[in-house]
């Protein structure tokens, strides 16, 4: 019976050839370790967000008078609504963490160099877009935490000279966070940003499929040579078929992602949903402490400690632009082995340590 079904499909779509071409014949280099699978985790985490998001969307009402009540109904009345909401809430934060780990790994491997500049740019763009998607999602349940976080984060662009006020006002749909803001953030969170992210995912994956998976110049020193001016897939002498070798690594890391997800949900269910996230938004009651989400704490703290707003926002903008186009700033005649590039390694470590310090500082200030 099973064989007949497979044969039926095989005749129509050539499954065997598809699996051979895209999985068995697609080889991954020796240097592709567990760390190399984080990009795949990001993809799976994003799909989980889309599925749980769609489930929530079935009952969510994007209006200030009903948003909080509808989320409460999802959590308490709809069968297993609490499970979907919890996965969506915790999953979003893990997605962000996985993107950061992936980004740092790619940077430390210097995998962004020619011919993978566009892959890097699309990845960093996705990093920014996912961040904004998560921030816009905070407002949707219309609770105290999300309302006041949005009040803070939507005021950040206002520091940009000339156009800043306009951007803030456009995001909020006015001077304050109101129902108009909820409507806009709902559109951003559910349609606009996901469409761009999906487009970028396609481009990112297409480039990886065309160029092959990047390897480590430390594990495979042969790859630390100047790339050709013509399109050429890298040849790895000790490569392994993607399926099943690398696929089992991916399976392990995806299972680990699920383990972390349910670990947080079991032991720290309120880690990303503090007590105030269960109180309806009240513009007349400002909480004692307003703090943006953990991934936005570093830039927020930087803006707080630099007395000159324009200087603060300029530093953040410059950092974002440099990060986005980093492959074009990195000298072309340098190698890919990070051990032979102490300056680059120091730069990466300084940025990471600063980011961690600012985040912790923001958490306790």
């Amino acid at each position: 019976m099973w064989g007949k079904i497979i044969h039926w499909i095989e005749v129509r779509i050539g499954l065997e050839e598809l699996v051979n071409k895209h999985l068995r014949e697609f080889h991954t280099p020796k240097g592709a370790t567990f760390w190399s699978t984080f990009g795949f985790v990001v993809l799976i985490a994003f799909i989980v967000q889309v599925i749980t998001g769609i489930m929530l969307l079935l009952y969510y009402i994007p209006h200030p008078e009903y948003a909080f009540k509808s989320v409460q109904t999802i959590t308490n009345e709809i069968p297993y609504g609490w499970l979907f909401r919890s996965i969506h809430n915790v999953g979003g934060n893990i997605l962000m963490a996985a993107i950061i780990i992936h980004l740092v790994h790619v940077f430390l491997r210097v995998s962004y160099k020619k011919p993978r500049e566009i892959t890097w740019v699309t990845g960093v763009l996705m990093f920014f877009l996912v961040q904004f998607t998560l921030i816009s999602g905070h407002l949707l349940p219309w609770h105290q935490t999300g309302f006041w976080q949005t009040t803070v984060t939507s005021s950040v662009p206002a520091f940009i000279p000339v156009i800043g006020e306009g951007i803030s006002s456009y995001l909020r749909g006015g001077e304050f966070v109101t129902g108009v803001t909820l409507s806009r953030y709902f559109s951003f969170h559910v349609v606009i940003l996901p469409v761009f992210i999906v487009a970028l995912i396609f481009l990112h994956v297409l480039l990886i499929r065309r160029q092959g998976l990047s390897t480590s110049a430390i594990v495979e020193p042969d790859t630390d040579t100047a790339p050709s001016d013509e399109f050429r897939r890298e040849v790895h002498l000790e490569s392994q078929p993607c399926f099943p070798n690398f696929a089992t690594k991916r399976l392990f890391i995806v299972m680990s992602y699920c383990t972390v997800l349910f670990f947080i949900m079991t032991f720290f269910p309120n880690l990303f949903l503090p007590a105030e996230a269960n109180i309806q938004a009240d513009p007349m009651a400002t909480p004692e402490l307003i703090r943006p989400a953990w991934y936005f704490l570093a830039p927020y703290q930087l803006l707080k400690i630099i007395p000159n707003d324009i200087l603060g926002i300029s530093l953040i903008t410059i950092f974002c632009v440099v990060l986005l186009f980093w492959p074009f700033f990195d000298p072309t005649d340098t190698g890919r082995n990070i051990h032979k590039r102490p300056l680059l390694l120091s730069l990466a470590l300084i940025v990471l340590v600063l980011w961690a310090i600012l985040t912790i500082w923001g958490m306790y200030s």
């Binding site: 299972m255 269960n278 109180i279």
Partner: protein, 287 residues
């Protein structure tokens, strides 16, 4: 080639430049669908508070607003006009009697003034010894004697104390009343605390809260009758009603426990699958 850039640019400029002409549409849209009730809420605070905190007013007026800000009323968005009437959204008309402005009540009008909202308590008070004495003689305790005026805090059993009650009569009678109230009051306070805890854990307790506050208000109204026998007789009924809420609270805690167990089960499942996947990947690595 340039036309591919110029045409969209012209269209974009056109859209942006027509923005202001659409302002009236946007305004209508926002007022109709999006801003209410936040827009009104923002307006309410402005006229009364702004004027009473301005330099035109003396320090005693500033103190009134400060006391209100720290009160239980302020915490629950009961604003100036809810008691004093008027039009807080319109500074020029805010104190016009035509707009319902009542001003400060005379002493004898205080029970009716507070009773606008606290209806059951007013009825109970008027039938009590306190109320009868006050209405007949103009002397004796009214609402503000025990609760204050602008700095109203949440009432508790501590409000019945020797210092306050012995201003008019011996404390023995008050103490007897306090003892009669004790059992239900302590249960009320426990149930309320647990409901708050559940609410902050993400459980919807709207129905339980409504039932709770109906009973809470009923018992508080009863306590204003200062009739010890009536309180003792009806305490049993209130305890039974509160026990119904407690059983629903227990169900909610069981639901939270079920969720935690469900997450833990999935956690164990994925730990197992992770181990299997890890061993599988290692075995392929060796091959």
């Amino acid at each position: 080639m340039m036309r591919y850039f110029i045409i969209p640019l012209v269209v974009l400029i056109g859209i942006v430049s027509t923005g202001p002409s659409q302002a009236s549409y946007r305004e209508t849209f926002e007022k109709e669908f999006m801003l209410s009730p936040w827009h009104i809420a923002a307006g309410e605070i402005s006229a009364c508070i702004q004027c009473h905190t301005s330099d035109n007013m003396g320090p005693e007026m500033h103190e009134i607003t400060q006391q209100w800000k720290e009160s239980f009323h302020a915490k629950h968005n009961v604003s100036c006009h809810d008691c004093h009437g008027g039009a807080p959204e319109d500074a020029s008309m805010s104190m016009m009697h035509q707009r319902g402005f009542k001003g400060s009540p005379k002493d004898l009008d205080i029970p009716e003034f507070c009773g606008t909202c606290h209806i059951a308590i007013l009825n109970s008070y008027l039938k009590s010894g306190h109320g009868k004495t006050f209405i007949e003689t103009g002397e004796g305790p009214n609402c503000v004697t025990c609760h204050g005026s602008h700095n109203i805090q949440r009432a508790s059993m501590d409000i019945i104390n020797e210092q306050l009650c012995s201003q008019c009569h011996t404390y023995d009678r008050a103490q007897e009343m306090k003892q009669a109230l004790f059992m239900v009051e302590s249960k009320l306070s426990n149930v309320e605390e647990t409901l708050d805890r559940l609410k902050l854990s993400g459980i919807n307790v709207d129905n339980q809260e409504k039932f709770f506050y109906r009973n809470h208000a009923g018992f508080r109204a009863l306590s204003h009758s200062i009739n010890v026998d009536a309180v003792r007789i009806k305490s049993g009924d209130y305890i039974k009603k509160l026990e119904i809420i407690e059983s629903e609270i227990n169900e909610s805690f069981n639901q939270l426990k079920f969720r935690k167990n469900f997450y833990a089960y999935l956690l164990l499942l994925f730990i197992g699958l992770s181990i299997v996947a890890f061993l599988l990947s290692k075995s392929y690595e060796q091959k």
